[in-house]
């Protein structure tokens, strides 16, 4: 058997949606390899999450469950997972490309002494060889690779595969081992308010140096808020993050986040090549800039040449009306 393993992410007892997306990718591989999708989840008291995995397309679910796994520890979890990958004939190991996935799967792949490909947008299995496609240079190019070592490990970019649903897999439980932890999570501090994570937002409203000073980002925040709660997130250009107007976590571009929302607003952003790399795959791009020759207009679907301080307040009003009349 050549089974496809999905390492699921459970936080605070709930299964994270990108894990179900990774199951979709795993199902594609399992169809080609003739194996089964086996999900592995770690935590303490994770019955609800493992039931969701079993009902979400995993043929087999292994819970590594117990008090010693209450908090995430990359080294301890990787060790326990590798045992299960081996015991379950895993020829491919997938996990979502999230903060936990990026931390855990490289460690798992190192223990398995194999390769790993990260931030994958397509997977394949041809003639028994696994392959994947991933963006490189922050999306300025796309690389297709074929694995030459087994097992094949890959982190799957969120929001790129549909979440898997349907199924009735069998759940089994393994006691979480206790032992020395090299690293362990001590605390999780929620971000202030109910901010929508940048990478998951349906709409990203990004501002740049054209806003002239940090306080003027209120305009950007107000436009994001106009879409209603939980819809839009604020983004920023590198220049304004480096200037300290906005936190680095909001930076869009090559040394920040790569985003791909259905709708992206670039306001007062000229469109440096590093910024374009981070947002060019958004479905619809709107640019508002004073300079008609700004490079941002080359990638924008719709552009308005004008002063953000005049255009954006009118746009906020118009969006509020659209949202109110839905």
């Amino acid at each position: 058997m050549s089974n496809i393993i999905v390492i699921a992410e459970v936080r605070g007892g709930s299964l994270k949606r990108p894990s179900l997306e990774a199951i979709t990718a795993a199902k594609q591989l399992a169809t080609a390899s003739g194996g089964q999708v086996v999900a592995i989840a770690c935590g303490n008291g994770i019955d609800a999450a493992t039931a969701e995995l079993a009902a979400g397309g995993a043929a087999k679910v292994i819970a590594i469950d117990g008090p010693s796994f209450t908090e995430y520890s990359g080294d301890a979890w990787a060790k326990a997972i590798v045992e299960q990958v081996k015991a379950n004939d895993g020829t491919a190991v997938l996990m979502a490309h999230t903060a936990m996935g990026k931390d855990l799967l490289p460690r798992v792949s190192g223990l398995l002494d194999t390769g790993i490909i990260t931030d994958v947008i397509e997977v394949s299995c041809e003639g028994g060889a696994y392959g994947a496609k991933k963006p490189v240079f922050a999306g300025k190019a796309t690389m297709t690779v074929k694995a030459t070592k087994s097992p094949f490990c890959a982190t799957i970019r969120p929001n790129n595969f549909e979440a898997s649903s349907g199924g009735s897999g069998e759940v089994s439980k393994v006691d979480a081992p206790s032992g020395d932890l090299l690293s362990v999570v001590k605390e999780i501090i929620a971000a202030g308010g109910d901010k929508t994570p940048l990478a998951e937002a349906k709409v990203v409203v990004a501002g740049g140096r054209g806003l002239k000073e940090a306080d003027n980002f209120k305009l950007i925040e107000d436009l994001a808020a106009a879409f209603g709660p939980g819809v839009a997130a604020v983004g920023a250009s590198r220049a304004v993050c480096d200037a300290g107007w906005r936190p680095h976590s909001e930076q869009v571009g090559q040394t920040g986040k790569v985003v791909s929302p259905p709708l992206y607003f670039a306001i007062g952003i000229s469109g440096a090549i590093q910024h374009l790399a981070g947002m060019r795959t958004a479905r619809t791009i709107v640019a508002i800039n004073k300079d008609a020759d700004a490079p941002i207009f080359k990638v924008a679907d719709y552009g308005i040449v004008g002063d953000a301080f005049e255009v954006v307040p009118a746009l906020i009003k118009a969006i509020e009306e659209v949202v109110a009349n839905r």
Binding site: G74, S109, I304
Partner: protein, 250 residues
């Protein structure tokens, strides 16, 4: 305390990528190379840790062509004590191959703290720290935005989806650094002069076979031409109309 900083020489971030004739690599003619941006945070953190401890050595380590000496000289000018280039003429895209080669070096030349950038901005692999830590049996925290060392244990902060995580990690450890961790210093004239006398060694990289091969490298499809809707406030109704009925985005 021996601190190693893993550094990669990468194309400058303002490079417009062109695919080479082999369809598997980028055209490097006319491309300028620089220290990977995230590695600058790792180097700065190494220097800060050495300053905090008041002792130790900072070794800058890279794997790449001899041309990487220029980037390593910059690391020395910023304050690293020593630099090592594990040379290879191959363009390495397989992160596991890098991790294994660096692990081999670090087994022969042990360090208590290994720092690296969260990812290289060319291959965007984002996997060295965990992979290396697994091979060395070290603790590891990735993508840190805050890092403190006390009594041989790190306390780190990292961004996760919608929150921040506080992680403790024993040394020896591999830490990958994110933007926001610190403000990297640049080389001053004195540093540049001093760097000329600091040791910069070269040794052939002990490279295992790659765990994957490149099938193709392609540019993403070009976006369809957009249009300027109009000028100023008057263009807002037309924009709303287009977003609503044409793009169906609102």
């Amino acid at each position: 305390m021996d601190i190693v900083v893993c550094i990669k020489r990468v194309p400058a971030t303002d490079t417009a990528i062109k695919i080479a004739a082999d369809g598997k690599s980028i055209e490097t003619n006319g491309v300028s190379f620089e220290m990977n941006a995230y590695d600058e945070f790792a180097l700065e953190q190494a220097l800060l840790i050495k300053e905090q401890l008041g002792e130790g050595t900072v070794t800058a380590l890279t794997i790449g062509p001899s041309l990487a000496q220029k980037v390593m000289r910059d690391a020395l000018a910023r304050g690293a004590d020593k630099a090592v280039v594990l040379t290879t003429d191959e363009w390495i895209y397989d992160g596991a191959q890098v991790a294994q080669a660096l692990a081999t070096y670090l087994q022969a030349n042990p360090a208590q703290i290994v720092l690296c950038g969260k990812q290289a901005v060319d291959s965007d692999n984002n996997q060295l720290a965990g992979n290396l830590a697994a091979r060395l049996g070290f603790g590891c925290v990735t993508e840190v935005t805050k890092l403190e060392l006390a009594d041989g244990t790190f306390t780190a902060e990292r961004d996760i989806e919608g929150a921040r995580e506080v992680v403790t990690c024993k040394t020896p450890a591999v830490i990958s650094c994110n933007k926001g961790l610190n403000q990297p210093r640049y080389a001053n004239l004195k540093g540049i002069m001093k760097a000329k006398k600091k040791p910069l060694e070269e040794a052939a990289a002990d490279l295992p076979a790659a765990a994957m091969e490149i099938v193709s490298l392609e540019l993403p499809p070009a976006r369809a031409d957009g249009r300027i809707i109009g000028e100023g406030v008057d263009a807002v109704p037309a924009l709303i109309e287009a977003l609503r009925n044409e793009a169906k985005a609102i």
